[in-house]
């Protein structure tokens, strides 16, 4: 900080104090911007903004099944670009009672002649249902590795909480499959992975 040329000593030290307080506020706000990233995730999970869901397994809650109503759960799989995989779900939709747990199988098939890593990114709609969806087990918690031509079947086990809002009678789970960057996957696998088809 540059020397303060004018004013008496009191004023000078007062200015210096103001400056340092401002700088502290600055640093704090810069850190706050980065802190917002994890905070946002927490906030999203709590409020269900944007269909973001818990990214780790939750426990099944033993609660009475609400026989009085059905909820349709839809499954949609999508392919992001750059991953030579086919992703299928055994059923497009199921009907469950709130409180009931269900299992649905997803299949992943690497259609290329090289090993590759992928990750299914989940999104849930409507957002008001997000908080009431418990995923006990999901392929979307982890990155998947598939050998050339390998086919893998993985389950999704979930439960819709009993307190799912009345007006929600259909929940859509969307999984978009994205490649995990080759460089990162190499580190994780500790093995050489075939070069991706980068253009």
């Amino acid at each position: 900080m540059s020397r303060i040329e004018m004013g008496n000593d009191d004023q000078r030290s007062a200015i210096r104090r103001t400056v340092w307080r401002s700088v502290a506020a600055l640093v704090g706000m810069f850190a706050f911007a980065f802190a917002l990233v994890p905070l946002y995730d927490v906030f999203c999970e709590v409020t269900g903004i944007n269909g973001k869901v818990e990214t780790s397994a939750q426990a099944l809650v033993n609660e009475e099944i609400d026989d009085s109503r059905y909820v349709t759960v839809q499954f949609i799989t999508r392919n992001g670009s750059g991953l030579p995989w086919r992703m299928d779900v055994e059923t497009r939709q199921i009907r469950v009672h709130p409180g009931q747990s269900a299992e649905v199988n997803f299949t992943f098939n690497n259609q290329s002649d090289g090993v590759s890593w992928g990750r299914a990114v989940p999104s849930v709609s409507p957002s008001s249902a997000t908080r009431h969806l418990r995923k006990v087990s999901c392929f979307c918690f982890d990155e998947q590795r598939l050998e050339a031509g390998e086919r893998l079947e993985l389950p999704l086990v979930f439960q819709l909480a009993r307190d799912l809002p009345e007006e929600v009678n259909s929940v859509t789970l969307v999984y978009t499959l994205y490649p995990v960057e080759t460089r990162k996957a190499q580190l994780q696998a500790g093995a050489k992975v075939l070069e991706g088809d980068e253009v």
């Binding site: 004018m6 400056v19 990114v121």
Partner: protein
């Protein structure tokens, strides 16, 4: 940090000098370009800021005219869509960060020390440094237009992933230039806070400060709070682009919507950074030319502070269509509507100040009155936009473009021009040329309304913003807008003419250039000598 500066006169010497006797006590400043490169004088730095922002206003204006020329009629006649997107983006970035913000900083540099009776800014060398960062930042930014792949083309809001994964290679330079501009504003803000809090004339309490000083103090706090967030968000972009992180990339577990939350957490206070000092200027001018004290000084201060605080709680009203949950949409709708209350208080206060005044219509007053009317119209469209269900129709249309141009052009820009006309006698010792200034005013008012009023209609009728070509039913509105834009653009040459003429000569202005003006700046001679208030004045509270 600061560049080397020539030896400064010592404190002991200068503190004895009176305002009028400055020439005797001070060493002659370096001549030519060096003088301007090295100056630590708040008045010279203020002038540098103002000249820089005027140049940038014209560059940003030329970009706008390129856009308006292409939109003059349907079909692509002049430029390609890629270049059109670069023009809209650059227009926004330059106008926000290089024209409006530096203009207010320039006015702050010139006037805050004069208005609080301080000899200079608290940190003069830092002041020099923060100014000279600006040309560096914006030469870098403008140079991206000549790079392979072109300049930034993702709008001034640079939403990810269009600005990350899908951005042109020059984006890294764009980020660098924004960082530099951000540092410049932050340093400027620290300097202003340090000056206002510590260097007021003896006897001047906070609640005695002119409103321009108050609004700038609050603006500086906003700058310190949100510029680091902007720095954070562009740093995350930089990392996503160059270091393989995925803050905003769904493929890596990130979230594009997070970008918008972070951006608007900065962006909404930023909007007020561009309007609060304008409130301050208008609150100085209206009482002067109504010859009547400002009505509700205290409520003006509280209203400004409330607007600033509320500005942190409304950011997601820019994001009503990204799929927020109902509760969040309602929250942001209510907080946004609340902003109408303190803003209304301000407008009512200005009008009550006019009521039973003795009003004359010199150029600064004309601009200030146009500000009140047209800013209020922008406020009304803002209130309409706050209504979330209706915003689903307004969002990202020309209605929004009309709204924010009403608050920024006849709002912020008119207030800056009002301020320039108001203080030119103090800066130059001459009154601005009355007739030319009148022409400038009337042509600007007509131009600005021809340009932006039809945009309300084209937006409501369904024209999305940021499109280089449009369906035929929008043709008439766009034609009028384009003609208006050229009228407005060219009439700004008159402004330059008035300023140059005023610097060169004109009717001589006394220290008290306007009869009823009562702040401290009017107690120093016109033109204000290079060094003022080296002996602090004793503040006299006005009698009323």
């Amino acid at each position: 940090m600061a560049p080397k500066v020539p030896p400064q006169p010592s404190l002991e010497q200068s503190s004895t000098a009176t305002a009028a006797g400055h020439g005797l006590a001070h060493a002659a400043p370096p001549k030519g370009i060096l003088r301007w490169l090295l100056t630590t004088n708040h008045k010279e730095i203020g002038s540098l800021y103002l000249i820089f922002s005027l140049i940038m206003f014209f560059i940003g204006g030329i970009f706008a005219l390129v856009v308006r020329a292409e939109l003059y009629q349907p079909g692509m006649q002049l430029i390609q869509p890629e270049f059109f997107n670069q023009m809209t983006t650059m227009h926004g970035l330059i106008m926000v960060f290089a024209a409006v913000m530096p203009a207010f900083t320039g006015l702050a540099n010139w006037m805050i020390p004069l208005q609080i009776g301080a000899p200079d800014m608290a940190l003069p060398r830092l002041n020099n440094f923060s100014f000279w960062l600006l040309p560096v930042a914006f030469i870098l930014l403008l140079s991206t237009l000549f790079m392979p792949g072109g300049g930034p083309n993702f709008g001034w809001t640079f939403y990810a992933p269009l600005s990350t994964t899908y951005a042109p290679p020059s984006t890294t330079i764009f980020i660098l230039s924004l960082h530099i501009a951000g540092i410049s504003s932050i340093l400027g803000a620290i300097n202003i806070i340090a000056t206002i809090l510590n260097m007021r004339a003896p006897g001047m309490r906070m609640m005695d400060m002119p409103l321009f000083v108050w609004t700038w103090l609050i603006t500086s706090f906003l700058l310190i709070a949100v510029m680091p967030v902007l720095a954070g968000v562009i740093t995350m972009m930089l990392m996503d682009i160059n270091f393989g992180t995925s803050f905003f990339d769904a493929a890596g577990g990130g979230d594009p919507v997070l970008f918008q939350h972070l951006f608007w957490f900065f962006g909404h206070p930023e909007v007020y950074i561009m309007i609060l000092p304008a409130f301050g200027i208008v609150s100085a001018i209206i009482p002067t030319f109504a010859r009547k004290p400002l009505f509700g000084y205290a409520s003006m201060v509280y209203a400004t502070a409330s607007i600033a605080i509320l500005s942190f709680l409304v950011w997601a009203h820019h994001m009503f269509v990204v799929g927020l949950p109902l509760a969040a949409t309602l929250f942001f709708m209510y907080t946004t509507m609340l902003i109408a209350v303190p803003t209304g208080v301000k407008v009512f206060n200005w009008i009550t100040t006019l009521f039973r005044g003795s009003i004359s219509f010199e150029p600064p007053m004309l601009f200030a009155l146009a500000f009140v009317v047209l800013f209020t119209i922008g406020g009304f469209s803002g209130l309409m936009l706050a209504i979330a269900p209706a915003d689903f129709q307004y969002h990202d249309t020309y209605f929004v473009v009309a709204h924010f141009h009403y608050v920024l052009v006849p709002g912020a820009v008119f207030a800056i021009m009002a301020g320039v006309y108001y203080w030119l006698p103090k800066w130059t010792g001459h009154y601005p040329h009355e007739r030319l200034a009148q022409w400038h005013f009337w042509l600007s008012v007509i131009g600005v309304n021809l340009t932006f009023f039809p945009m309300h209609f084209s937006g409501l009728a369904g024209m999305p913003r940021r499109i280089p070509d449009y369906a035929l039913q929008f043709a008439d509105f766009n034609l009028v807008s384009s003609l208006g834009a050229f009228l407005f653009g060219f009439s700004q040459l008159l402004f330059v003419a008035v300023v140059i003429l005023c610097v060169r000569g004109g009717r001589k202005a006394p220290a008290q250039a306007w009869d009823y003006a009562e702040d401290l700046e009017w107690t120093v001679p016109s033109p204000a000598p290079l060094h003022t208030f080296e002996t602090p004045p004793t503040y006299q509270r006005p009698a009323h």
